[in-house]
Amino acid sequence: MLAELGLNSVDVLFDHIPEYCRLQRPLSIPTGRSEAEIIAWFQQAARDNAPGFTSFLGAGAYQHFRPTHLDQLISRGEWFTAYTPYQPEISQGTLQAIFEFQTMICQLTGQEVANAGMYDGSTALLEACMMAARVTGRSGIVVARSVHPQYREVLSTLTKPREFPIAEAGFTPDGRLDLAALKAAVTAETAAVAVQSPNFFGTIEDWEAAAAIAHAQGALLVAVIAEPVSLGLLPAPAAADIVAMELQGFGIPVGFGGPYAGIIASREKFLRSLPGRLVGEARDSDGKRGFVLTLSTREQHIRREKATSNICTNQALCALMASIFMATYGRQGLRELAQQNLSKAAYLASACQKAGLEVLFPAPRFHEFVVRLRRPLAEIEARLHQEKIIPGLSLQRYYPELGNALLVCATETIPRAGLDRLAALLSEV
């Protein structure tokens, strides 16, 4: 091929790069290794984590059974080695799947439109608030303190340059958003009121009440959902104006925090303000139904600095996992799954109480709850790790006001014996 280009060395193709830019030595990286060696290296790395542990961590990343056909399906090259469906005629698979995805998200959330996905729940919250600002022409954000702390951090980081004023509304002793505080915080300058349910403590919030407060001031309610499985049982956030949801719980591996997928769902009237990709129905020249990327005049590749968001690559394959998961569990299965999660956590909470531990926040909850430890987690952790147990998340960093509080999550993956064991161990140590 070099010959056909009339070159005697590939170096010539780099000659126009100025001399001082060129790297004059090999990269200081070992030479190529074999597949077997690479696998062995990663296996060792995996062993240096916590394989085989029973974990009660949740806090925005939830362990659920992943049907085996899920990975098998997404591993088809036609799914995972394709890119954004710019050419609909040879991307109908991806496009139809996204259309179905958008529909299922609408069905779950009670909203009218949903986009093809955002990076994750935390950035979805940001995008939702920015969208609310576009829609309302305001910039104030009121966020419940019971929203995932890392989501709030992201919101704060990414709104700082545009100086969106952010106010926080606290929570009551029953673990729910303090509606009075919220009411006080929402003003005529407020664009978005962001509330999470189940909230970070696992407690279930009242969408209608929050919506009423937001709407009374002309603000939009942004419903944050960090655990999509909850929607199998909890009422749809139909009262919200925008839903910002994390989908990890729908079959996406916990995988040290990513890749996950977020979505934004909203009302039809706000459609033109939605961030991210949208797939719509179309007809081909023979009149057949097909699907295309649509309304892209909202997006960066057309609208550039006036786009509704800068997002380009999203998390399509994770959204596909979520679709397969939703289709697999389906109408009944999702309810049963949610019911199992609810029941496991209820059982564990009561086991903890029986074992003499204080469970904070009496309001109804989904699959997480907060328990107060007698001593800081740091002091008892080693003992629990010996037993191959990760008991949950210490709330010290994010909610120092709660003392030695531990956020515990129990999903369908933990058999009763595991729940009993945790309660027993926590009361011992």
Binding site: M1, L2, E4, W41, F42, Q44, N49, F53, L57, G60, A61, P67, E78, T84, P85, Q87, P88, E89, I90, G93, T94, E100, M104, V113, A114, Y119, S122, T123, H148, L158, R162, P235, A236, G257, P259, D284, T294, Q300, E305, C312, N314, Q315, A316, L317, C318, I324, M326, A327, T328, G330, R331, G333, R335, Q339, S343, A346, P364, I390, E412, P415
Partner: protein, 495 residues
């Protein structure tokens, strides 16, 4: 028309045949009451009550496991991926996604690790992040890095926020960001979201930064120049040194969009030519799969001055997590970013090694130049400047016959190929942006070249054949305008 469908639509001797595929309706249309695709273990604790449970999820799908498998298998057969064939989507770097990368990502202890598990139980994961960081720093020649951003665009936003903080730390608040007209749409969108005014910088006739415009526009109010290098025309900015100097002299910073880093790996390092901050797209240069539109990952590498501002947590040299970073811009994403992409990218780097990475760069550039050479004349080359990893043509000759880049793209499908990137970059009217990557082999490139030549001929002699394409696909050309006029964005039950 019948003739077109039958013969011309399937150009002889090409990659393309037509074969039976299955039709498949929407999930909701193939659903039937009472089915489910999964069984849970029996609940082994008492069923807890919930007062305010929802009644139902109306119209949510109900399928058996086999129906789910068939549904998503059938849909997949209407797609085209790198595994299907050459995928020369310019700027997207559609290279081979090795299966071993998928394998290591799913190993027990990695794929199922929780982001909040104690550091003492995350040593392996942190080591992966550290090693990947080190390799990326070596490749870019930068000083520090964050892996947190979820994609290129988020990397850009992170980078611009770093610039903002660093300038603020200098006591310097600026209002503008300068962006060449050839830039990707995410660049201006990012700058706007970061609260900056976007100012357009025109390209010169070589397709590169116009130095006199830069000199004029690079004022004391400009925080950064966002430059893609090689730029989206596949051209290396030869004046990069002068550009960097000028930006720095005027107190600004040079942001490099590293989407095209695959043209440089092992041959040149942005850290050596004046870049202050840049992002990488692991899903481009480092072969993490594109997944039908993501996930990606957009690490941001910086020079020393910007390091204090990196998002928390920062991964220390000892592979621990440092949250105590008073100057940090904060978090840009929950947890640590798209960790599953880190494992894949690291496996890719390990498999290639220093030798393979350089070879990869060379092959990518060689392939692009081969295609350029073979198509020159058949299509108009708007810039004579040397190409690196991709080449951009225009449809100028074909447009005379009413055939545009979008038509040529559709016709390429009939020849069995995924099209190039259409109508980008915007500086070229009717752009055909072709990036073969190192993964394209000679035989298929020759077929691809022959196809594009044949289409150029068709555009001259039978333009309506090209404008009517594609003919070989299950679904013919879709009316995108009508779709946008009356958007139908979800299925609804027939009432």
């Amino acid at each position: 028309m019948a003739e077109i469908n039958d013969n011309l639509s399937r150009p002889a001797g090409t990659r393309a045949s037509r074969h039976l595929v299955q039709n498949e309706d929407l999930l909701f249309e193939v659903s039937s009451p009472g089915k489910r695709g999964y069984q849970l273990p029996d609940l082994d604790v008492p069923e807890a009550p919930l007062a305010a449970a929802r009644a139902d999820i109306p119209d949510f799908p109900e399928l058996s496991e086999l129906e789910v498998v068939r549904h998503f298998t059938r849909l997949s057969t209407w797609n085209y991926g790198v595994d299907t064939g050459i995928y020369p989507l310019g700027s997207c770097t559609m290279k081979y996604n090795a299966r071993v990368n998928e394998h290591v990502t799913r190993i027990e202890g990695l794929g199922d690790g929780h982001p909040l598990q104690p550091e003492s139980l995350s040593r392996g994961a942190l080591r992966i992040m550290r090693l990947l960081s080190d390799y990326l720093l070596e490749i870019t020649g930068m000083d520090a890095i964050t892996l947190q951003p979820a994609a290129g665009a988020q990397g850009e936003l992170t980078g611009i926020l770093l610039v903002r903080s660093a300038l603020a730390a200098r006591g310097d608040r600026r209002r503008k960001v300068l962006i060449p007209d050839s830039a990707h749409g995410t660049n201006p969108a990012t700058a706007a979201i970061a609260g900056y005014q976007v100012e357009n910088l025109k390209s010169n006739p070589d397709g590169t930064v116009d130095m006199s415009s830069l000199d004029r526009q690079m004022t004391g109010d400009v925080a950064a120049l966002m430059l893609t290098n090689p730029n989206t025309l596949g051209i290396f900015e030869e004046d990069i040194h002068r550009i960097a100097d000028l930006v720095h002299e005027r107190g600004g910073m040079l942001y490099m969009d590293g989407a095209n880093m695959n043209a440089l790996v092992g041959r040149a390092r942005p850290g050596d030519f004046g870049v202050d901050v840049m992002h990488l797209n692991l899903h481009k240069t480092f072969s993490t799969p594109h997944g039908g539109g993501g996930p990606g990952a957009g690490p941001v590498a910086v020079k020393r001055e910007l390091e204090p501002f990196l998002p928390i947590p920062v991964l220390t040299q000892k592979a621990t997590l440092d949250y105590d970073r008073p100057q940090s811009i904060g978090r840009v994403r929950a947890f640590y970013g798209n960790f599953g992409m880190f494992t894949r990218a690291l496996a890719y780097i390990m498999a290639n090694g220093s030798d393979g990475l350089k070879q990869t760069t060379e092959d990518a550039v060689l392939n692009a130049n081969y295609i350029r050479k073979k198509l020159e004349g058949h299509y108009t080359l708007p810039f004579a400047t040397p190409s690196m990893h991709e080449v951009v043509f225009s449809d100028a000759q074909q447009a005379q016959h009413g055939v545009h880049t979008g038509d040529i793209a559709k016709r390429l499908i009939d020849y069995g190929f995924h099209p190039y990137t259409v109508s980008f970059p915007l500086v070229v009217r009717g752009a055909l942006m072709i990036e073969p990557t190192e993964s394209a082999n000679r035989q298929e490139m020759d077929e691809f070249i022959a196809a594009l030549r044949a289409i150029a001929e068709e555009a001259r002699t039978q333009p309506e054949l090209v404008t009517g394409a594609p003919y070989t696909t299950k679904i013919r050309r879709l009316d995108e305008v009508a779709a946008a006029r009356q958007p139908v964005l979800r299925w609804k039950p027939k009432s």
